[in-house]
Amino acid sequence: MKSKSIKKVKVKFKLNGKELELETKPNKRLLDLLRDDLNLTGTKEGCSIGECGACTVIMNGKAVNSCLVLAGEINNSEIITIEGIAQNGNLHPLQENFLKYGAVQCGFCTPGMILSAYALLRVNPEPDEETIKEAIAGNLCRCTGYKQIIEAIKHSTKITDG
């Protein structure tokens, strides 16, 4: 790899509501930028190839696998991670319901799951069960069998937020 010869670039983006400007190699994965450089370790890495969804973040309103996004692509974008969805210390309703309906076991898939659901509810505040399943089909969970996750998302519908 010739990453040495790759020059750093300046990227400007909004992260969890705050404007940010930093220098990074453009070929750094967004996942590493978040976890290593910004210490936002809520975003997880489970496969590195876009199959497991543990690294899901919201980019411009859409759920994306941050292991497949390069830092060079995020200029002028808006990114939300799991650390950014609770507002002023209050859990987001999705977070509340994940707790209430037992949707969390080991918790490794949880941030990605919540963000995939978050992206869904933004465009479709009242999804039916099939739509929910579809929205999280790219998020693997080995512990829960998905049932309580689907339940939690179902009960978070009709919730819109700013």
């Binding site: 496969c47 080991c106 918790g107 689907i150």
Partner: protein
Amino acid sequence: MKEKFNVVGKPVIREDGKAKVTGQAKFADDYKFPNMIFGVMVRTKATHAIIKKIDYSEIENDKHIITIVDAKDIKGLKKTGLIRKDQPVFAFEKIVTPGDVVAMLLGEDEDKLRLLAKKVKVELEELPVLNDPEKALNEDSPLIHPEFGSNLIVHHPLRKGDIEKGFAESDFILEQTYTTPHIEHAYLEPECVIAIPLGEKGIHIIGSIQNPFTARRIVAEVINYPLNKVKIEQAELGGSFGGKDDLMCILSARAAVAALKTNRPVKIRYTREESILESYKRHPYRMHYKVGYTKDGKIKAMKIDILADGGAYCSMTPFVTWRSVVQATGPYEIENVWTDVRGVYTNNPYTGAMRGFGSPQIIFAQESLMDDIAVHLGITPDEIRRINGYRQGSITASGQRLENHEVNLLKVLDTACNETNFREKWIENEKHHNRRIPTIEFKENILKRNLILSKNEFINPDDIIKKGIGLAVSFRGSSLGAEGIDAAASYLSIQNDGSAYLLCGLAENGQGMRTAYAIIVSEILGIPVENIYYLEMTTAHIPDSGPTVASRSTIMGGGAVKNSAEILRKRFEDFLKDYWKLNENDLIVFENNEVYVKGKENLKLSFPEFANLAYKNGICLSSIGWYPGPKIHWEEETGHGSAYFTYVYGCQVAEVRVNIITGEVYVDRVTAVHDPGKVINLLGALGQVYGGVTQGVGYAIFEELDKHNGLPRELNFDQYIIPTSKDVGEIIPIFVEGKDEFGPWGAKSLGEPTLELTAAAINNAIRNAVGERYFNLPVNLEEVLLKRKLRPEDLKRGSL
């Protein structure tokens, strides 16, 4: 026995939940330390070879390398193992499977190290490779570990009655062979560990470690330190299912060796590919069953021969196969039984503990067999099980009388059948599977005209989709049984404001154990669950409680926690009796964060007030609880004994649809009826069922880790397919809470029973749908259509 509960059995939110939904929970890879460096593994391309020389000359002066560690750096034992010491921390004599590691490169830039690892030259002398366990015991097969003189890891025989007489008394004899594949645990979090050198104080290790006490023992042996200088801390664990044991011990040892050599914190984190390559799997079994039965459906004799592929290392094979020998007949009372279970070495990935632990394989075989007997005799699957199933006082294959607990086998069976209308559906489906696959009859060559089909050329979807329903039952010994020493400890400390610290020597694996423990304390002392702080699990702060395996966390750890709370409760009652000058028959109640005397409203304190009062009166507010499992015994030569001190029972009914053109199976519904004893946390228990059944569906119809010359073909989730949110229909959990004298209020185990039954139930449902019996897991598309697996000839993708 206590009948009314305040907290036990209710849905309680996990104590660790908030940290997990906000991204604050710290998994191993989320820890960083100043000066930390990374360790990256060096492997070879060999499957079986003698190591002649390891040549680092091309890389040793590279500026990215701080140092290199290999077997020469190990001061203590170079080979470890939980049962047999056959697994080197760094391979130095031989490579016995492709996952083997010969050295580790240390440096700050992990990516650079990964590139450099490929430049280490390992001089090898290739040896013949053994992949087929059936050939493992042949005279001319290569020995994987010549020092043991044989590839036989273990042989468990079990003999009961007179097998030949039993067959002679039978009207019919049925013989079948079943196979199951390697299965990957596929915990979402790959392995990660960090070792931090502490100078005179020893070494501190944080990692995704399932069994901290086992890891401590292994690390201490390898670096030659006393146990008290090895502190193992469990990070939040991203799933384990039995899979983060042996390998995590070895990774901890590698990290420790490197940390001591460099005097810097060392982190090892695996990619998914490395994880699947080097971690152990579920054992593939080949099972031969011969069963004799009368025309009334009474089973007279069962002869079972099982071969388990242990792979390159012993790991837990002796214990996994031991559970198989105890439970191989299924929950049926049979006079004459002859069972042999063998585990052997091969050059395949090694196999060890995985949720189910030697039971999903045998249940797949024995429950498929039971259905075939029923079909042969023209009775329904539930009937054959009623004729032979365990009842109160039944004697197991190993000669144990089932009497100290409620034997609820038939109760779970009946509940499941009633709930699903099993019999009616089963009989109805049986009528429909004799139809052949419909074929399209083209009047003329379709290519000569336009491609639009005329009406009579369409296939009626009902002819393609067949419905099926199937069931499976099991009994399962709780906890370790004669597999090992069985006891657990707990520490409970009330603070003088009424809040509490709690810790148990077993480890949270994501299953929600800590929450269950807090519920137990809350029930006894009335402290709200949210006022109980569960301490970080480290080996330095709590007595060794053995491994967190065998679904023993509730029955054993729960027992210890209950004991610690009861010690305090007794002490508090004694104090209050004196302080409030109570009579012998005054009843002190601890509930809802209050302490009061029943019927004497003036004698009442809030728990915080009480704690402060007791503290000021010099009462010790802390305790250590201990729960030793009852004695059990086992005779290895004959397979006789009381294998486990108690058992749980389950019945699952699967309803499927099978597309006979594509071979696709869709699982519409699984009704899971379990007797786990008392349910402690309803929310957690439901989660165990949903998760276990879903893993069981994967085992039934998707999952298989295939190998090419011992090298796993499916190294990531693009090829190793686990169920997604769309793959499983409804799951309906039902609990039948049987009474038991063991465990907290009779709470036993649930995690493993939920998984072990599903594949067998699905296989029976598929048979009910299409009228064909399948003998080899997974029952995937090609198995359904062709009754064989399609495999590529080499490592390329695609199939032949």
